[in-house]
Symmetry: C2
Subunit: 341 residues, 2 copies
């Protein structure tokens, strides 16, 4: 049957009345084309795979960071007529076996969101011949694309902002070491401090993971140090910051009066935190949608040439950053006899 013209929809190549007849018959038979058969024939399913690397099964995509990116991915997928299938990686073990599943033809290309242990992944992927893009920092492989925010610049800007308020004892709650973003953000933190001539105090930079609980724990220990406690905390993610906020409240600290906190991501929920969280906004939605555009471009040219894309973060000033306590007192003193509020 010339019925295949329907999909190719080559107008001018088929008689008007023949088309009518075919359409009519299709209606009568409740004909619906099979995407799978077409996929087999064309070697292209119009489907992309999205792999999230998560800590625990219970948290899967529930973390706002993933949700926001996923939103961008889905939206662009729909407008480009691609379906998106989701996978979650939970450990670094047996990723090889999983890779074979992702690449068994059900996906034309892959997006890895916040992959752990990227270097290893890249070498595995190289043999698989599957177009892929990372949402994370610089891959070195020419056949892998990536898109990310400029983490070190953003982190530096956050810390500069704190410094601008007069803070000098600034703590940093790091993210999960397995994600490159954690390293980049710490670099930015150190760079800002160096540039301002503030010595790095190793007791002020605490390792951990991207979770509110981890933020809570680390903040509690930090704040228990009394006079040694920092006056400001740069958190490597909003989730960490939310935990920090919570810990500070529980310990009776007022924010930003007693301690300033700045987050990273501007994840949905940052602005309904209490107080609304000052943070570095990542264009999460845009990252997601551009990732699929990049991937689609790669698929079209056979996945041969990788693309690189770096976006800038933006400082969102809300209510969790202010001058350090002592500076505030001084400021008040200078501005005259006001009621101590």
């Amino acid at each position: 049957m010339t019925v295949s013209y329907v999909l190719n929809d080559r107008s001018g190549k088929v008689g008007v009345e023949t088309r009518e007849r075919v359409n009519r018959v299709m209606k009568e038979m409740h004909y619906r084309p099979s995407a799978v058969a077409r996929g087999l024939s064309r070697q292209r399913l119009n489907a992309i795979g999205v792999i999230f690397h998560v800590r625990a099964s219970t948290k899967l995509v529930a973390t706002p960071y993933f949700g926001d990116i996923l939103g961008g991915i889905l939206e662009m997928s729909m407008t480009r007529e691609q379906s998106a299938t989701l996978f979650t990686e939970m450990g670094d073990t047996e990723t090889q076996r999983r890779l074979n599943i992702y690449c068994d033809g059900r996906c034309d290309g892959l997006i890895f969101v916040a992959p752990r242990d990227r270097a290893n992944l890249v070498t595995s992927l190289r043999n698989l011949q599957v177009p892929h893009v990372f949402v994370s920092d610089n891959g070195d492989d020419p056949q892998t694309s990536y898109i990310d925010v400029d983490n070190v610049a953003a982190a530096k800007q956050a810390v500069d902002y704190l410094i601008g308020f007069g803070h000098t004892r600034i703590a940093h709650l790091c993210g999960d070491e397995a994600h490159s973003s954690a390293h980049r953000r710490r670099e930015g933190y150190i760079e800002a401090l160096h540039q301002a001539g503030i010595p790095i105090d190793d007791s002020l930079v605490l390792g951990g993971i991207y979770s509110s609980q981890s933020g809570h724990e680390r903040t509690s220990t930090l704040l228990a140090r009394g006079a040694q406690a920092p006056t400001a905390i740069f958190c490597s993610s909003d989730e960490i910051a939310i935990g920090a906020l919570d810990a500070a409240h529980k310990l009776g600290f007022s924010i930003p009066g007693d301690i300033s906190i700045i987050g990273f991501d501007d994840t949905s929920g940052a602005d309904s935190a209490y107080p609304p969280l000052t943070t570095m906004r990542q264009p999460l939605h845009q990252i997601g949608s551009e990732a699929v555009e990049i991937l689609l471009d790669m698929i079209d040219d056979g996945g041969l040439i990788g693309r690189k894309r770096i976006l800038q973060a933006e400082l969102i000033e809300r209510s969790t950053v202010g001058p350090p306590p002592s500076a505030a007192v001084m400021a008040r003193r200078e501005s005259g006899p006001e009621v101590d509020n």
Copy 2:
């Protein structure tokens, strides 16, 4: 080639050394089976489709409710070796066209999460012959499955809890009318009030949607009523409650001193709200994972028989509910001369 034995893995039907040889050759050739070809042949792709009904493109799956359910769906999909492909519906328009895409063979079955306008969907789905389950309340069609929490019982329990504290002026911030859950929860609210002999005050039940902004707006108008303001608010979702909390703070109300607030869902984030939100917990993760189990069962028996599943919600007591202001004053009076805090 008898190589197809690999997938069927019928031991005993193939010689040991032949198997060895085949395996070796597969390695050498970097052979990887094509899921698409197998799917075409078997008429089963081992893939399920998940359709979310969302308000706006920007919010897509970023709402915690969806994220938590999706987590359950993905986890179970992985353990059952199914891939999950995601779709988002944004309006009720052209759902028919979209349905054809969902059902073009790339999915063996469909899960609809919080569908709008379910009745219409059901009739469309009936012709399509695709196994499907709704995460929402009672479908009537024998071929459609559903799983949901017992919304009216849960809502009633929430309001009973408020009443137990002595509240009588209890407002209800409804969810989106297009979702059946909004109706069920209002029923529960009314039932609780009736049973306690409290007359329904229509000015206290406010329509809106499931968003924090909507909760914020409605709470603001409620609280502006002065002496007419309620002493407690039952919110139809945590997102609404988060907005309500925010509005109350902005208006200088303390929680739960001046006003009690209870939410619904126990979405991740409810307990890092400030103060931590008292709410009705839906087993969101479980709902997601059971939905895929139900769907898989349906697929196995040809999608002929629908299954129904109702789960119970659980009251999570945190810090946003207390006695109404006047009662609190009385309680204090009775317990002796304490410092008014």
